[in-house]
Amino acid sequence: MHTQVKEPQHKLSKESLRVGLIGDVIFDVVVLLIFAVLFGLDFIFEWPAWIGTILLILLIISVPLLIIGYLGTVINHRNWRYDIDEEYVQLRQGAWFQKDQLIPVTKIQSVETKQGPLLRRYKLREVEIETMAGEYSIPGLPEKEAYALRDQIAAYAKAKEEDD
């Protein structure tokens, strides 16, 4: 009996990509603000010249990194997969560096959904699964789907008592 590996099918929602990108924008704004403050301080207090040079180099390096960040968010979002059946939770992340995880539902200790201000704006929720080995989260599912998923996992995992 040699069945093929069944790949996880479910994808993340489109809105969650938007949330991810908005998160990136906020992050970039903060980074640029920090740079602005540093440059300002440099200008006002007349720091030694080399500090200015280093700041400039850092800025030049960080701009492409920030742009790559957006690309990373998009790629990660596209390649995120999850699947749940009566026996296993299956997660897949990453395009270049791919990571697959297979978690028996009996080993799940708790499921919860979470929501930050950005996620609330788009009516999304994050489902967090805690197992004996660690915590896993499925980010940015539409609220209804997230609740359904939570209840489904809870139902599958219910038969067993906490093992640990």
């Binding site: 009996m1 040699h2 069945t3 093929q4 590996v5 026996e87 296993y88 270049w96 560096f97 791919q98 990571k99 697959d100 995880q101 297979l102 978690i103 028996p104 009996t106 080993k107 197992t131 004996m132 080995a133 660690g134 038969a159 067993k160 008592e161 906490e162 093992d163 640990d164």
Partner: protein
Amino acid sequence: MEKRRYHPANMLFAIVKTIRGWIIPLIIVFFFNNTDGWGSYAKYGILGIILLSIIGSILKWFTDQYTADERAFHLYSGIFSKSSRTVPYEKIQNVTKHTNILHRLLRLTAIKFETGSKEKAVDFQVLTKEEASRLEQLTKEDVQEQAAVQDTEIKGDELEEEDAVSEQTVPHTETKIIHFKPTKKELIRASFTSLSFLLVPPLLISFLLKFDIFFDWSELRQYLPLLKVWWITAFGLIGIIVVSLLVGMWRVVQKYGNYELKSDDTYIYIQTGLLSESAFSIRKDRVQGIEITQPILHRLLGLAKVKLISTGSLDISEETETINSLYPYFSLKQAQTMIAEILPEYEVQHSMERLEQKVLLYRLLQPSTIWLGVTITLYFWRPEVLGFEIKWWIVSIVLLILIEGYRYMDFKHTSYLISDKFFQIKTGALTTTLFVTKRNKMIEIARNQNPLQRWLKLATIESINRAKPVLHNKLKDLPASEADRFYVWYRQRTNDVRKQ
């Protein structure tokens, strides 16, 4: 059920522990500090802390209580805010007993019931031996009853495991079989193979160097000609060797003089220690896996260390050894028969699969960060040692050879086996580790692939087992098809797990 206080000697032990913890600051403050300025305050401060913690431990004794009924421990604690905790016996993973010298003088002992990777253990630091064995017996009886009624009862996930089946069919008997107890000859052999006698000469030298405040090196010079008399030198050397051997032997005897490995149908018992005794017991089906390690010296001598992986942590106090290990001076063969005897469900296979040849090339060609770092640093820095400039390229080449040699050894030793119900991996360059676990004991698996691995059709797999801390075992660069097989194989895990 009547609540009990802990043994009153708990207070004594707590006081001794406090004083021992603060003895060094106390000495510093009292003897090496003049009474000027903050020194006197520090004195009172430290005395105050000690007094407070002594009062605290006395209060704690008055407030803390416990009961043990037929199903669970109930622990009550808290001076101001009270709390109670219930720990069902079925959660207990393993039991460690420890009797240090102070315990022995007062005919007492300590016992600890480990419950899992994330919870605190049920820890009795001081109690009478009778009470300890009463509690231990209680926890064990419950488990057996549970096993018996389990068929009808839909409860308790621990019992999902297939091992529970064997437990039901075989009635528990009290007869313990002693599997191993070192003889004098084996102890002597162990003290040689442990090589701990080699510790003595360096210790002696560092002792001499540190205590030269008591004598003057220049005064010693007049005695140096004595070394020319051959018999004085010979006696001196023999003396040092004899002392080294005795010390080495003492260390081994102290640890393993009393060693005993026993088992019955359901449990494994390990006992060690001469002056301070430790005992460990674990239910066979709670063993999460086996680890056989061979450091380089062990490999040369054909010896092996065997460790039983268990969910609870095993150190009962800082000074005890990890006693989940079997006798570490078994020959590899002896170790394997011992495993077969105490854990008949485990089959350690010898023929394992190796990695493909292309993996060796792939690994050898990977840039090494250590090598790059050292080479670049030396190229710019060029330090001098004893007046000679170190040729950066020599160091660089030697380091590269060492690193590649290390990688080659690791590749040579790496092997794996995904058999019917077992997963076996062996890794390590200098110290090899063979890890064996059952499919139903793995709580999770993962599979990774980086771009280069994808191109070479390789993958990395990871097994996760319960332990404290959680045990991750990685096997890198096996064929991707094998990684898929591993995935499918793990999916069929439900076959060996008893459903409720």
